[in-house]
Symmetry: C2
Subunit: 391 residues, 2 copies
């Protein structure tokens, strides 16, 4: 099958470079209006001065800001509810996210919830797309999810132990400020999980069975090679601008629709990971480092051509003379060695302290909204096997 | 120097795939309004039925269409004036281009001229950006210029023998329909010149002297390799969908801002080519096939690292043991051999019937608006040499 038909439309303004946060006041005033909700994570933006810089710039541009602090990894629907309440009570005109993908995802859900009369969780549970979404802006502090330039949001509901994804074509940020210097002070594990997350987004869009996708393949390979080259540099030298800049731009390009345009996304491993981190609180990138290698080992022989391309062109591993049934283990070894040795990232659930994974719960829960067809043809038993092998 | 700071913002909706022209009525009605100017080239859209298909779809969606036919390669300011007159007289709400880059460039100039009270040529001569531009849509029939997803327009003025470029951030098409099947019936030389044009756009953005641009480089190399692989296939089998689709998507990605984001464009050869085709009417792609190899031969030793990368990664030509001063000739031979042997494209002015190039006129005219600095540091004598070597 040739390149697929596609729609590519990505209206987000990316403002990329050193110190670009200084433009946040003007950008907010121009695109989000005069009264915004500032959405932030835990405390780092306060400690490193980013919060006060932004508040100052907003004030200079005459923008009033309410604040929602404390959005955590695997952002909770509770944060969304709280943000939506503030937006309604104060009649706010836009939402400005300052953080990584969790904060941005939460901001998108708040921006949509402002236009939805029911409980915000309905957006995710019933895939509701309100007619409008408040305009969203971002100051990105972590290269990982790509949420800075797409219309996706993933929110967790601790009460139901669900973690669900949602998309709205109006939820693309109006602008995203990408200043690689803001990532210099990240804890190493966040840099590492971010790199795994970027790679995993590319994996999801790379292992199709189409022909005639040399452009998509070349761009995907470029992004993967860049992350593989630059993430270890950023870990060794957190202030290396070139490495941080490449990681940040890769995070955006990995999930802004570009490499998926004309290809076919799989997203099975993301669904598995969502179950894993919904039931056992671990970072999304960590969950992907656990799930993906195990999935690759299972399916490589079925997608032989793509896995040979992957090993040869992304990892510089020759597959000459390697039998199809050995490709899975070779891929598993190649990828996990990089995660473990170069990123210091765990590759099993045990590595993250999950000693008794609730495999049955995860699979049962997932099969309430996914079918074998939407899991790339995997049977229930195969999904169980992926979880067990990743334990 | 590391990756440059950049703004990336490309709001064009790309609708890509077989038969997507069927959506033109709804798209036009949604984005251009109810009364549009249809801008077309010479006769091919009439002969192959595309015109009547589009007119039918517009009528079905309740869109009234006036028509401007006859926009030629190196589109003339006269066509712009005529189109702008119709738009004003009839109170039209948008401009729909059906054709290749010339038609689209003309449509953009008309859309801007509708908001400019003086003569349309002032837009180009004085780089005027009116406060608004009428919304623009495209049905692309030629993979070449990338005009389908950027804010650029290049218009010629036969009276003054000038060919000038203009950019407006509001002149990005609201939508562009990219149906590779529409290019099956192109004359071979248009396919060839289109391929040269795409390659040349990538060249302009590839030969910088920055470091840390592995993502931009990888994407640029991907696009060049795709064109080099697919253009000969499309020439041999005009109905090869995969080859046509790759060329079409490459044309868009080569000049939609993506590979230039963070890099530095040169555009010297485009300026030289504009002079060439303003003084001696030949196709833009043909002019680029003449100018670029000659420029490469002159500058390769000064940009040694980039030219080694270019030869090795794009053309699979080893440069081991090749002295810097020999890189230019090696590049010239590599590129011209491909143009001549695989694309059947001429590589000298003589090949296109230009026996007495007006080199002095071209250089003098160019230096009225370009300086040594904006020509990548070339002196007047060097510009003369490039033209003479390309004769």
């Amino acid at each position: 099958m040739p390149m697929k038909d596609f729609l590519f439309h990505n209206p987000t303004r990316v403002i990329f470079g050193r110190g670009k946060t200084r433009d946040v006041g003007e950008l907010t005033s121009a695109h989000l209006g005069e009264k915004v909700l500032l959405v932030l994570g835990r405390q780092s933006a306060k400690k490193n001065g980013l919060h006060s810089l932004i508040v100052g710039k907003l004030a200079q541009s005459g923008v009033l800001a309410e604040e929602l602090w404390g959005v955590a990894p695997n952002p909770s629907i509770e944060s969304v509810r709280e943000g939506a309440r503030i937006v309604r009570d104060k009649g706010l005109t836009g939402v400005l996210a300052v953080g990584g993908g969790s904060v941005i995802d939460c901001a998108k859900a708040i921006a949509a919830a402002a236009w939805h009369d029911g409980d915000p969780w309905e957006l995710f549970e019933k895939k509701i797309k309100p007619p409008n979404v408040l305009p969203i802006g971002c100051v990105l502090t972590l290269a990982a999810t790509g949420s800075e330039a797409n219309g996706n949001s993933v929110i967790s509901n601790p009460a139901t132990e669900q973690k669900l994804a949602w998309y709205h074509p109006e939820a693309y940020p109006a602008f995203s400020i990408l200043d690689p210097e803001l990532t210099f002070t990240l804890p190493p594990e966040q840099t590492a999980y971010g790199a795994v997350d970027i790679l995993s987004h590319v994996y999801e869009q790379f292992f199709h069975n189409l022909e005639g996708t040399d452009i998509q393949d070349g761009m995907a390979i470029t992004l993967m090679r860049s992350v593989i080259a630059n993430a270890p540099v950023a870990l060794a030298n957190p202030d290396d601008y070139d490495a941080r800049a490449s990681l940040m731009w890769a995070s955006t390009l990995a999930l802004n629709g570009l490499i998926g345009a004309g290809a076919v996304g799989d997203w099975t491993c993301h669904m598995l990971e969502h179950e894993l981190s919904a039931k056992h609180d671990l970072a999304h990138g960590a969950g992907l480092a656990v799930i993906f290698p195990s999935w690759m080992r299972l399916v490589a022989a079925r997608k032989e051509k793509r896995f040979r391309l992957f090993l040869e062109r992304v990892w510089d591993v020759s597959t000459q003379g390697v039998a199809p049934e050995r490709l899975g283990q070779l891929t598993y070894d190649t990828v996990t060695r990089f995660y473990r040795d170069r990123l210091s990232a765990g590759v099993t659930m045990k590595d993250y302290g999950v000693d008794n994974p609730r495999v049955d719960d995860m699979v049962t829960c997932m099969l309430t909204y996914k079918t074998q067809e939407t899991l790339g043809g995997l049977t229930r038993d195969e999904v169980v096997k992926i979880f067990q092998d990743a334990a």
